[in-house]
Symmetry: C2
């Protein structure tokens, strides 16, 4: 049975978990607080793959004080040997009296076995405290475990009249500096940054994270059906890996020489099979994927029901109706086919508006409750 005290300590564990927002990839963000006699005796969070899990950090901080304590952990402690030994065993060995978890681990290798192991060892176990908030902290990890695909968030910057670029392709810059800096933080939390070759050819973006102190670069992925990415692209001039996904049979030697990994995926009517693309990214342990692309790829992902979130920056400018739109949706012909979105967050970033939205269809298809996901609407 959980109490207000449990909620309070779990909220602290969630705050700790968020320290790992940009660094835990491909692992989930996890925080842990050890409490004895309502006093925090140890806390920890997972920082990066291969480093200690949150529970292990908290136990190390608590030392002997962990004996008889309650452990608040934002995700079920693991029961399997991964890069590190199982945390369930570490909690048992430390003599913890009770474990409160926010949610069960959706990883099929854990999936309740961690909690079961604790119970078998005579430890009191509760699960589900601030579960919605804990799920909102790891939409990508949960999506990959539960749906076998990453959580796709498309970032778009548009004028007030819904245009992302002029007819000439010119698009720099629609939003002002504060909005562009904000985008860096969203890139930083993603496991991968995805774009289309059209954007590479038009804008030649680097797509890397340029925040101070960055040591982990997301994988940069280019959807390039015909293998048109130039080996001179700025993508290859910045640190971090580049993956080119293609349906072409052409020899990718020049791109490989430039530093790209090139993989072939099945073709579909409008280019790459996007479902296969998402499966490939999940196979590569991508949780959240940050998408920056043009109307064609954005429309393709939206139309395929693969888009989970829309991060939209709106600049107080007009570009006119000759300019490029947000989403290419050739099948949308009647008003009853319009795609409804749910707004999760809206704010000013400098002189621009920032909206975070979810396509209702995608959310429904994903079986993700709105209440759950809005509650912790994670902003970077």
């Amino acid at each position: 049975m959980s109490t207000a005290t449990d909620t309070r300590h779990m909220a602290r564990a969630l705050q700790l978990a968020a320290h790992g927002l940009t660094t835990t990839s491909p692992n989930p963000r996890v925080g842990c607080v050890l409490v004895r006699d309502d006093r925090v005796v140890g806390k920890g969070w997972h920082e990066r793959a291969g480093a200690g899990h949150a529970e292990v950090q908290a136990l190390a901080a608590a030392g002997p004080a962990a004996r008889g304590a309650t452990a608040y952990v934002t995700l079920e402690p693991c029961s399997h040997h991964g890069r590190t030994p199982p945390c369930a065993e570490a909690l048992i060995a430390a003599g913890v009296a009770r474990v409160v978890a926010a949610m069960q681990d959706p990883n099929p290798r854990v999936a309740g076995r961690g909690l079961e192991r604790l119970r078998t060892a005579g430890i009191a176990v509760d699960c589900g405290v601030l579960e919605a908030e804990a799920r909102a902290l790891n939409p990508g990890f949960i999506s990959r475990m539960e749906r076998g695909r990453p959580w796709l968030r498309v970032k778009l910057a548009m004028s007030l009249d819904g245009r992302t670029a002029l007819a000439s392709g010119e698009s720099q810059w629609i939003t002002a500096a504060p909005a562009r800096a904000d985008v860096q933080r969203w890139r930083a939390r993603a496991c991968a940054v995805l774009t289309g070759v059209g954007t590479v050819l038009a804008d030649d973006p680097a797509l890397d994270v340029r925040l101070p102190g960055t040591w982990r670069q997301p994988l940069r992925v280019v959807v390039d059906t015909q293998l048109r990415t130039p080996p001179q692209a700025r993508l290859f001039t910045r640190p971090g890996r580049v993956l080119i996904v293609t349906a072409s049979e052409r020899d990718p030697a020049a791109l490989r020489a430039a530093g790209a990994e090139v993989v072939r995926l099945p073709a579909a009517a409008a280019g790459i099979d996007l479902v296969a693309l998402c499966a490939e990214l999940a196979r590569r342990e991508c949780n959240e994927v940050h998408v920056e692309c043009g109307a064609r790829l954005a429309g393709g992902l939206l139309g395929a029901g693969l888009l989970d979130e829309v991060l939209l920056y709106v600049a107080p400018l007009l570009l006119g109706d000759g300019a490029h739109g947000l989403f290419h949706l050739p099948g949308l012909l009647r008003m009853d086919q319009r795609i409804a979105l749910e707004a999760l967050d809206q704010r000013m970033v400098g002189r621009d508006w920032r909206l975070l939205l979810r396509p209702r269809r995608a959310a429904a298809a994903a079986g993700m409750g709105y209440g759950a996901t809005i509650a912790g609407a994670a902003a970077p």
Copy 2:
């Protein structure tokens, strides 16, 4: 010399003036408070053309208590015989000791003569208390007097991806009921509602005000270069006048029989000469003109620098890039030609966002300071 007390009483007079928001056309909205020994002894506001001015209403309410009082009035008292006798004379006759005006009357028939008449009669006069707020209450009247043209506010309803209608023309409804009800209040405050024949043919709108208690209908104006408005249009089924503005030489007998007034104006490259249209509306004493139209007329007005405000409703929907845009701006080809807007107000109306913006160019051209106009950003 004005004081905090003056500001407080003038603020009350401005509140009173706003009671006439939808009814004073073609007159300005004006309020008046009579104060003696810091006690309000009379108040009034102008309700409709032909009815008593605010000062006369306040004097009638005060009776003998007006003697020795200070009159706070949001616009310089008139000095000329219009539909009613001059208010300056009424204030003098009532024995008022001091008059505080928010602003001088921009009407060239007054233009300081009212204040001068008061001073000549030995009354203490101050002018300029809450002037910015007073100007914001009557953007249309001031525009007509100072620029010889009405204040044009275009209302647009768009999807999140900047579309006002599907390629088929289907547009009902993008916004939800609360936003559509809000539009009624903006129509109600206008002297005229302006549209293009394309909108009449596509949507067959009635464009009337359907708020409870409405007794004044704005003039409805259709820009119809080729005289294509059908005499069966819903426009003609509702109370209120309809004006068709055309460049066609065709016989408008059928439209006149349907109840329309038809006037010819000079043609320009893209249709009617829009500067001539604005002059014609000013000649007809239109202060604020509420525009509901498609991308072509909206783009024409914006391109001609005639658009003063954009009232934009944004629905959380996607319609795709095959749909119609907001502004047809064929000359906008380079990023440095983009049109910047200033946001005056933003809020939720039901599930939709409402933004009130001003094109920076138009505002600059009109010589209207932003500080002044933002301060009292009049919402209905």
